[in-house]
Structure formats: C-alpha cells, structure tokens
C-alpha cells in the first residue's frame, strides 16, 4: 500500500538524489557575493556574461517590429565592436520565423519557448505540436516547462516521460527544461526535479530555473542547487548538462556572482555559452554600461545604450 503512494515515490526520489539544507545552501552562496572581481577579470567576466545572454522578449504585445529591434541588439549589442554577440534571442513560437530571418548566419541562435509556456497546462499532444512547429519554423533551441502539477502530485514517471517526448520532438534543436522553481518551493524539490530532467536529456541540453512569469525567479540559492545537481550528475554519468538561470538577474554585479558560483562549483568547462546562459533582457545594458565604465573610467548616461528589450 504505502510504497505505491505518491508520497513514497517522493521519498524514494529524495533518498536517491539526497536532500538540501536550506540554511547551508544560503550560507554557501553568500560567500560568492563577497568575491571582489576587478580590472581585467571584471572585463572578461562581463564579456562572458554578454556572450551567455539569451536576450528575451515574452510579451503578449510582441510584434515582428519588436523582434527586429531585439535581433539587431543581439547581433551588435553595442557600437563598441569588441563586445561579443549574445548567445540567442528568446521569443514566443509565433515570432520564431521573424527572429530567424534577422539572425540567420550571424551565429546568434533563436530560442523559442514552447509547451504552453508559462503554465504548461494543456494536452501533451498540443504541447508537442507547439514544439514541432517552433522547430520547423527554425528554432535552434526550445525552452519547455515541466508539468509542475504532476511533479507535486508525485507522478514522476509522467514528468520524465513528457520531457522525453519533448526531447524527441526537438530533433536537432537543443532543449532547455524549465523547472519553475518558485512553484516547486523547496530546495529538495528543485534538486529532485533537476535529476528527473537530466535523466532523459542529451549532452548539451539545459535545465533552467524559471519562466520569469512568477514572483520569485533565479536566485543564487536555486542556481546553486541546480548546478550542484549538474555537477553530481556529470561526475556520475559523464553527461554534461547546461544551466540557465532566468528572470530576476538585472545587474552586471549579479551576473558576475552567478558566474563565480559556476567557476567554483562546476569549474572552467562550464564558463561558456554552450553550457551556461542567462535568461534576461535588462541585464544586457547594465553589462554594457559596466564595460564602458571599465574602459573610460566613467559611467555613461542610460540613453547612450540602445534599448531593444525593455521589461521582461
């Protein structure tokens, strides 16, 4: 009786992947915020953060015009040509074609959210059709949401099978699995869900914190729980999964703290946009502002930096 209940499934999963102590994790990440990154190391970190950005617009009022301005910004973030391109633009499926037409051949990828983003509350066949549609429109990467309802009900096999189906529907496109950490609530759940997803992902796929549509998004704490899960999974299986914190990272300083966490937890092999991304929009201009300050010694007024992705 008992071993079949959803509660028992949850206990078994936690037992297998191990728990997380909240106080301990918060103590650990507080140490990242006291690192002091200066001069050349700062410039290198800021440029790296630019190259890891998934420049995002996910709004009901998005139009092909907005997408065009977003794509131009992604290709050349700043008039200073030394600054790298961003990793990708992240848009709704209906905007994939428009985005693709602007970034094709530039090295900037098109990522599309799919699977009834952000809630995921529709039939699996509809979600899969959406993924296929986005991929056939030219999406290089797909950002899916997991079935949080099923996870919280203890139906782990279902959560995992659904991710598997999306992996299949992606074809050659890379997949980013959004756990929506604020709805999983506990660090234990975030770690468990990370392992569920990684168990069916391919090397080069990602796990991602949030949709950016709920109150609490990426924090150093849930980023740490997820990158520790990635590290443990990699050391066990040799399969390297990427990580994407999204939502709430608005300042250059924050992004450097996340990168320090990566450097000290996953090591140098994850300091690349092939394995780490920031889902953000307003972050980009703050990175540019700080880069400009490092170059000239003075902060420039905000209107010196072109706006293309204001708001999240």
């Amino acid at each position: 009786m008992l071993p079949r209940s959803p509660h028992a499934a949850h206990a078994r999963l936690l037992d297998e992947v191990g728990g997380v102590d909240q106080v301990g994790i918060e103590e650990r990440v507080a140490k990242f915020t006291t690192r002091s990154i200066k001069k050349a190391a700062k410039v290198w970190g800021l440029n790296l953060a630019v190259s890891m950005t998934d420049l995002t617009t996910l709004e009901g009022k998005d139009t092909p015009g907005k997408i065009e301005s977003l794509c131009r910004k992604a290709i050349s973030p700043h008039d200073d040509l030394v600054v790298p391109k961003v990793a990708a633009v992240c848009v709704y499926p209906s905007m994939v074609r428009a985005a693709k037409s602007h970034v094709a051949g530039t090295g900037v990828k098109v990522a599309s959210v799919a699977t009834a983003f952000p809630s995921g509350q529709t039939h699996l066949r509809t979600r899969l059709a959406e993924v296929r549609g986005a991929v056939s429109d030219g999406a290089d990467e797909v950002d899916m949401v997991i079935n949080r309802g099923a996870f919280l009900a203890g139906e782990f096999t279902r959560v995992q099978d659904e991710i598997s189906s999306v992996v299949e529907a992606c074809g050659a496109a890379a997949l980013k699995v959004i756990l929506e950490v604020s709805e999983l609530e506990t660090f234990d759940n975030i770690r468990a869900a990370s392992f569920l997803a990684m168990g069916v992902l391919r090397p080069g796929d990602f796990i991602k914190t949030s949709t950016g549509k709920t109150t609490l998004n990426a924090t150093l704490g849930n980023n740490q729980v997820m990158i520790e899960a990635i590290r443990d999974f990699y050391l066990d299986t040799g399969i390297a999964i990427g990580m994407k914190p999204a939502g709430g990272i608005k300042t250059a300083k924050q992004s450097l703290q996340f990168l320090i966490a990566v450097k000290e937890t996953l090591g140098d092999a994850w300091l690349t946009n092939k394995r780490y991304r920031f889902g953000a929009s307003s972050l980009l201009n703050d990175l540019l502002r700080q880069l400009e300050k490092e170059k000239t010694g003075a902060y420039q007024a905000p209107y010196y930096f072109s706006e293309a992705a204001e708001s999240y």
């Binding site: 999963l13 728990g19 103590e27 002091s36 200066k38 190391a41 995992q160 090591g267």
Partner: protein, 493 residues
C-alpha cells in the same frame, strides 16, 4: 529514474584551472598603525619600566609592523595598582552608567571597523574577509550585548544579588586577538570588575588600538590596563597577588602551568584551552552542506581555532562521496595574501606555529595516513600552509589526538552511532563537536552524549554573544558569553 546512459562513467572530472583568474583585490583602508606602542596603564600610554621592547611582524610578508613595549614584573605590578585603585569607583557606579561606557566602546569600534579589520589582518595573518565580516563585528557585538546587561544585573541570578570580584587578570591568545579581548573585557566591565590584560606577543596591535578607543570613550583611568609581552609577562599577570580572578584562553599546556601556579590560593579561574573537535557526518546528512560545514570547521582562520572541527568522523556508507566532494571543494579555496578580499586562507600566525604544523603533518605521513593537498601556489615570503586532508587516519595517530591548530583535517570513519560517540569522546579535549544528520532525534541524543561544551547541529563555528562557550575535560572550565559567562565574573550574595 531512467538508467544512466552511456558516458565516460566515473572518469569525468572537473577542471578548476586558470580560465578566469581574479585580479588582486587588496583592501586599502589605512590601519593607522603607530611605529611604537607603549603599555596602557592607568588610562595612558607609558614606557615600560623594563626598558625593553619587541617587534610585532606581519606573518604575511615577515615585515616589521610595530615595536611593542615589553612589560616586566614591575610594569605588571603598576598595572595591578592602577586597577586596584580604580575598582572602588568603577564598581560603585550604577550599572546603567557602566553600560554607557561599554556602549560607547562598541560604537567607536564599529565606526573604525575597516581600520581595525586591516590592522587585525596585518598583525595576525587572517584573511581580510574574516576580520571584516567576523572578528570586528563580533567583537562589537560582544560589547553591545554586555553593555545591555550592565543595568540588568539584578536579573542575572534570579533571587540572588551579584557583586563584582575585584581586579581580574586576563591572558588571551593570538588566533582572534580583538575578539578574545572583547570576550574577556566586556563581561568583566559590565559586572563592575577592573582588568589587567595581556594580549599574545605576536598579536598585540589591535588590543593597543582598542586602548585608543577606551581613551576616546572616556573610560575612567585604571579600569582597563594592557600589558604586552610573552610568557613571563603572562605568568606575572596570572600570578599577581592582587588578582581576585584569572581568566586564560590558550593552550592546555600553559593552562595546566597556571593552575599549578595558583593551586592553594583562593584565586578564581576560568580556562578556555585546546580542542580536537569531532565533526560527525551521518549518511542521511545533506552532503554538500556538510562538506561546506567541514570546510568552515577546519579552514576558518587557517584552522587556528580552538573549537575547529579538526577530526572528521564520517559514516562509512558515504565516506567515499564525502571525501571526493571535499577534495573538489578545497581545490577552489584561495590561499595567499590575507589583505586580498578574495583570500580564503591567509597566513599562518608565526614561524613557530608553521613549524609545529609541518612537524605534525610529517608525523601523519610517517605513521601511514594518506595526505591530500590541492595544487596551490603559496607566496614565497611569509608563513603559509596549504589546506590539507588526511585519510586513513585512526584513533592512535598523533594527528588524531594532538591539537594541530592549522589547516589540517584528519578523516576517520565509523559504522554505528555508538561508535561515532565513542570515537568522538576518545580525546582528552571536549570543547566542541558537530553533528550532520537529517534526523532530529539523533541530534538530540548526540548532543547529550558528546562530551563537548558546544555541539553544533548541521552547522559549525557559529557564535553569538548570548550563547555560552567553554569546555569539558582538558578543554577547560568556565563559560564565556551569555548569562553563564557573566556569572563567572560575579560573586553571588
């Protein structure tokens, strides 16, 4: 979960290389050091009657920091006379008035926190992030806490009256120079005692800088007197007949010597001595946080911590995983210039201490324990030692029994709860212990059965002024902090 798929099973490793080297980030605040520090007696700085001085050096680069007066027996006597004279007035002050002085000391210390942090780091070698985020704020917190008690002494021992003891002689160690000073001064002053205190000879500077604060706070002359010097000065402070009580923090060996010296007198004593704490990790513990706690337990302040978790007892089912994770974790510890804000492990306090650590580590290797040190570049000048783990350590190894007082962790394993308790208690010391488990009832049992003054559960090296700290067995007696600490400076009436 799906079965693990094909991959380079078990062979994958992490790369902690030089892809993103951090530039130096030195703390640049001026420590405002004087070239020469005199003794602080009767509210003013005076030349020592001994006519002698000694040098305080910066262990990070072996450069001379300041010249310090060496107090002889005559100087110590002079300090006790000043304290005895001041006692009448100080003890007669209403508690709320004494509290005002102590509050003022706390606030002045906060005002000059950065300056004190830099001075503490240059004098002792600890990383600036620790002196900035722990030592100085915690020292201020102790003054604040005890200032709060000063006008509430009627409630320290309900139903009993309390009175100060008189003049108290105190000797403090070099590992937390300013913080230990605060631990000693604050309760003594709040209770109405006067003090003659000797800082450790390698770390006198922040104590003498605090004397400037005592002057600025307008503390009446003679209430606090600071005499500097080495062992002989310490023996004079501990042995002076005018002392109503002595309080000592330092090694068990010196503590025993003091107790022998004072045997047969009516002198009150508190002793906070050595430790060899067991940090016990069970198989149900959150492993990554336990690893963090282990690191914090042994590498905090280069392991110069009497309550350091220097013996790791790890449950056999998880031993391999814990050790693997620990090795990865210490690869990213940054050893080097203590004044760099990114430094995790600073300099060893003195050449003498460095050679003691080196000697004990060599004995570990000789006795067959397996040593692991991550690759790290140590500065050429100054006293440094890399973070070190020993596996295959048994109870009879010297490195499992003697206090190393350095960044060296001895790892032992256990199979059952009883075995863990037995091994943890199998030491002459009993200052602290740590327990890592998800099971609440086990924490309660362990905290009852471990013979240690402090038992931390799922954390390590946590301190608070309101929480009493002190030892069992050869780790000493008496408590510091909290109501209990205050009572050690009082006579019950």
């Amino acid at each position: 979960m799906a079965a693990p798929r094909k991959g380079s099973q078990g062979r994958a490793g992490l790369i902690f290389g030089d892809l993103w080297e951090f530039d130096p980030a030195p703390e640049t605040a001026d420590p405002k050091l004087k070239a020469r520090y005199d003794l602080f007696i009767n509210g003013e700085f005076v030349r020592p009657r001994s006519g002698k001085t000694f040098d305080s050096i910066n262990p990070a680069n072996e450069q001379k920091l300041a010249e310090i007066a060496l107090a002889g027996a005559a100087d110590v006597d002079r300090a006790y006379q000043a304290a005895t004279k001041a006692f009448k007035g100080w003890s007669a002050l209403p508690g709320r008035e004494r509290g005002k002085y102590i509050f003022r000391i706390a606030r002045l210390l906060q005002d000059r926190a950065r300056e004190f942090a830099v001075a503490e780091t240059m004098d002792g070698g600890k990383p600036i992030k620790e002196s900035r985020d722990f030592d100085v704020p915690m020292a201020a917190a102790h003054f604040f806490y005890h200032a709060g008690w000063a006008d509430k002494l009627a409630y320290v021992a309900p139903g009993r009256g309390v009175a100060p003891l008189g003049v108290v002689g105190q000797v403090i160690p070099w590992n937390f120079p300013l913080l230990m000073l605060a631990w000693k001064l604050a309760p003594a002053l709040a209770m109405g005692n006067c003090v003659v205190l000797k800082p450790a000879e390698t770390t006198s500077v922040t104590a003498l800088k605090l004397a400037e604060i005592l002057q600025d706070a307008g503390l009446p002359p003679g209430v606090v007197n600071l005499v500097t010097g080495a062992g002989e000065t310490g023996a004079a402070v501990m042995g002076h007949p005018a002392a109503a009580k002595v309080a000592f923090t330092g090694s068990t060996e010196v503590g025993k010597r003091i107790m022998r010296q004072l045997a047969g007198t009516d002198r009150r004593m508190t002793m906070e001595l050595g430790g060899k704490a067991a940090n016990i990790v069970f198989d149900d513990a959150p492993i990554d946080q336990a690893v963090e706690g282990i690191v914090n337990g042994i590498f905090f302040n280069q392991g110069h911590v009497c309550c350091a978790g220097s013996r790791l007892l790890v449950h056999e089912p998880v031993a391999e995983r814990v050790i693997a994770k620990l090795k990865n974790r210490i690869r990213v510890l940054r050893v080097g210039d203590p004044l760099d804000k990114n430094t995790d492990l600073g300099a060893i306090n003195s050449r003498e201490q460095l050679s003691r650590i080196t000697r004990l580590v060599a004995s570990g290797v000789r006795e067959g324990a397996v040593k692991y040190q991550p690759p790290c570049m140590l500065p050429k000048k100054g006293f440094y030692f890399p973070p070190t783990l020993f596996t295959h350590v048994t109870q009879s190894h010297r490195i499992a029994r003697e206090e190393i007082f350095g960044p060296v962790l001895s790892i032992l394993t256990f199979r059952t709860v009883d075995e863990a308790i037995e091994k943890a208690n199998n030491t002459p010391y009993g200052l602290s212990a740590g327990v890592w488990t998800d099971k609440g009832s086990r924490i309660l049992r362990m905290s009852t059965e471990l013979k240690a003054g402090v038992v931390w559960a799922n954390t390590f090296n946590r301190f608070d002024p309101s929480s009493p700290f002190g030892g069992y067995k050869e780790s000493g007696f008496g408590r510091e902090g909290g109501r209990q600490g205050l009572l050690d400076y009082a006579r019950l009436a």
